[in-house]
Point group: C2
Chain length 436, copies 2
């Protein structure tokens, strides 16, 4: 290994390295890069890395962390190591870290830092700036906003640093502060917190308790990865597995199989109904084997149009573009879309049968009836697939499940059985007296 290593190089190789090599690589990083690198790891990896350091360095590193980062790291460590890590902190930080550890990792309280810049409402701008200048020499997470607190820690308002800086020195904080604050309660879910950040373009949001006392701030970098994580979970569910929770190569094979086999087996059990449905129509197939030829085409068209519709609706629900009570508007739209798509596919299907008939003479004397059966079935199956696919996410959410579970395979499975019923029903009507 070279004497000087960059964080990017180490990151590149990280997954392939043994714990010893990781430690060695980490110690070769320049100090500034090392800190950034450490914080980019998962809390568990952070803990394992810190625990592998010699005791003196371990203390140094623990003491350099912000309380919210330290809390995450301690929670990521094996239970038997946590007290040892806490003991490395100074008294104040240890108390802060313990308080933060009471919150779940994915709620506002678990994301927040208790170190924010504060001023009093009756200070002048010059006093406030001087006071902030002293605070900024200690450890304060951000000075982009100064929070105005009364003597009981109740949050009165906020003033951005830039406003304070641009205001006349003898103005009073109370007169320039904003009182229309965006605040979050301690228990708010990180996904909601992240939406507040992106809606209001804020750098930090104060966290308050039920009595309006300020407990800390969540900064934009604490939620920067939330949007990406949530999208990844949704995508993995939409693909028909459970969320992996870890990068692809880091999931162990056992875990990977468990997360994928569950849904796949459930879908397989559901798909068995197609075998039952096919058994019911076995007589029809015996009389007209030609019908079996189009079964995969018909049911896959239903499945494809259904997964298209469900995916669009799942995402629209996740982004808040569509809400639960919009279901009726969605039905009206998807009715039109499904009918249009069904007519397009039905037409292509009919044209294909007529063309093949005129070239290969595959479909016998009743080829027109076969074409009509396939054409009408496609309209019905695509329309039904589109409606079922668009409604499934609403039904799942209404029942308290994640709409993203309305995965493409799930919708396809639901639609396959009904697709068979539609197809054989159309066939029995159109082909009675001729092929059936």
């Amino acid at each position: 290994m070279p004497n000087q290593l960059s964080a990017a190089e180490l990151d590149e190789a990280w997954r392939l390295l043994s714990p010893e090599d990781r430690l060695e690589g980490f110690e070769l990083l320049p100090r500034g890069e090392a800190e950034e690198f450490l914080l980019a790891l998962s809390p568990h990896e952070q803990a394992m890395l810190i625990l592998s350091l010699p005791p003196a360095e371990r203390r140094l590193w623990m003491r350099s962390l912000e309380p919210d980062d330290a809390a995450d790291l301690v929670q990521g460590a094996p239970p038997e190591e946590r007290d040892g890590l806490l003991a490395l902190l100074d008294e104040t930080t240890r108390r802060e870290v313990k308080a933060l550890s009471a919150y779940a990792e994915d709620e506002a309280g678990g994301l927040m830092s208790p170190r924010y810049a504060r001023v009093r409402p009756d200070m002048t701008v010059d006093e406030a700036l001087g006071y902030l200048r002293r605070q900024s020499r200690q450890r304060v997470e951000t000075i982009y906003y100064a929070y105005v607190l009364d003597s009981e820690q109740h949050l009165q308002g906020v003033v951005s640093f830039r406003e304070l800086f641009a205001a006349p020195g003898d103005a009073v904080v109370r007169d320039i502060m904003h009182t229309d604050l965006v605040i979050v309660p301690e228990g708010m879910d990180q996904e909601e917190v992240s939406r507040l950040f992106s809606r209001h373009d804020l750098l930090a949001i104060p966290v308050v308790d039920a009595e309006g006392r300020m407990k800390g701030i969540v900064t934009f970098d604490d939620v920067a990865d939330v949007v990406e994580e949530e999208a990844t979970e949704d995508i993995q569910k939409l693909g028909g597995s459970e969320a992996l929770d870890e990068p692809y190569f880091q999931v162990r094979m056992r875990e990977m199989l468990k997360k994928r086999a569950g849904w796949l087996s459930a879908l397989f059990l559901g798909e068995m109904l197609t075998a039952s449905a096919m058994s019911v129509y076995q007589k029809e197939i015996e009389r007209a084997v030609l019908l079996a030829v189009f079964v995969p085409l018909i049911i896959s068209s239903g499945g494809n149009s259904g997964s298209q519709a469900s995916t669009l609706i799942v995402r629209a629900l996740a982004l808040g573009e569509v809400r639960l009570r919009d279901w009726w508007r969605v039905i009206r739209r998807e009715l039109a879309a499904g009918l249009g798509l069904g007519l397009i596919l039905g037409t292509i299907g009919v044209v294909r049968i007529l063309a093949w008939q005129s070239i290969f003479h595959l479909y016998g004397a009743h080829y027109l009836l076969i074409a009509a059966t396939v054409g009408f079935s496609l309209v019905g199956v695509v329309l039904w697939g589109t409606l079922a696919g668009s409604m499934l996410p609403f039904i799942l959410r209404r029942l308290g499940f994640d709409p993203a579970s309305a995965s493409a395979p799930f919708v396809a499975t639901v639609v396959d059985v009904t697709g068979l019923v539609i197809y054989f029903t159309v066939a029995s009507i159109l082909l009675r007296g001729t092929l059936l």
Copy 2:
């Protein structure tokens, strides 16, 4: 309508309102909320709203916008209105807006603001603070970082406001500035820019030209929505349609049909191969209609396992967890996963057939051979589906396409035909001399 309206209420109703009602609602907003509300609209909607205002107000609003926001709005207006909107700006801003309009909307140059805080390397901290305080009274996008420029606008370094604030007043800027800068070229794609933000937890990144001259800054709020937009595009493609580019209810039906029918028709044409494959096996089906009964079950199992694998890989590629050159490691993993999943589904399938046989006696004298055929086919189809699904994203990216086009329906279509071939091949081997 009430006399005072909140931005949240207007946002709620926005989609349902006529242009006149939108204007009326907008004018009822308190000034502070109105600006935030305006900027949250798409550039096109911003332009339409501003254009519907009376001329005096229109000028007022245009002049209150930051140059990067104004450039977006002007580009969102109908071409014939753009000059009129530009004419409302003051001379300096007009020049800045015109320069910004030369960049594509989704590259760094198109996102950046030319208004940033600058200091000279030889200033003292007190001089720099005084200079910044004057700049902050004019319109500067951010003062969280001050950029250190020489007289030819070459970027020398950066100093965070907090560091400047905490430094002794007589220190020289050159001595406290950082020179290990994260910078982006003007043409960098917004997705890459957004990754830099989330990797380095920065508030702003400077944009420089090929000669190292500073052109502007991109701030974190400019890319806040990029991650979400990119995930939405990927999800919609994975569901088997083109990206909608607009919220669900705002896409017009014509456009919606176009984006959805394209892929659906292409997949339908591909799926027609199943009809051809089934025609090839028509003789076998005539002899053993029972075989047709399991066709939907077999091919859907291939499709489901394939879309599961492709979705996991598409997301892992998008996040950079897996790279193009990792394809061999992925094959090895998916070979194990596919075999495991195939054995699980195959076992369930065999158990199901044996159970149904003992209860309903559906499958005749050769039920053991039928069970074996279904079981072995499932192992083969699921293994093949998993491998094909995991490799398709690599192949697409290698060919220069978006891996997210390896949608669940696309994979299912690819796997359906081969699934039929696997099934009927297994059947012809195991059932020769008995059923076939």
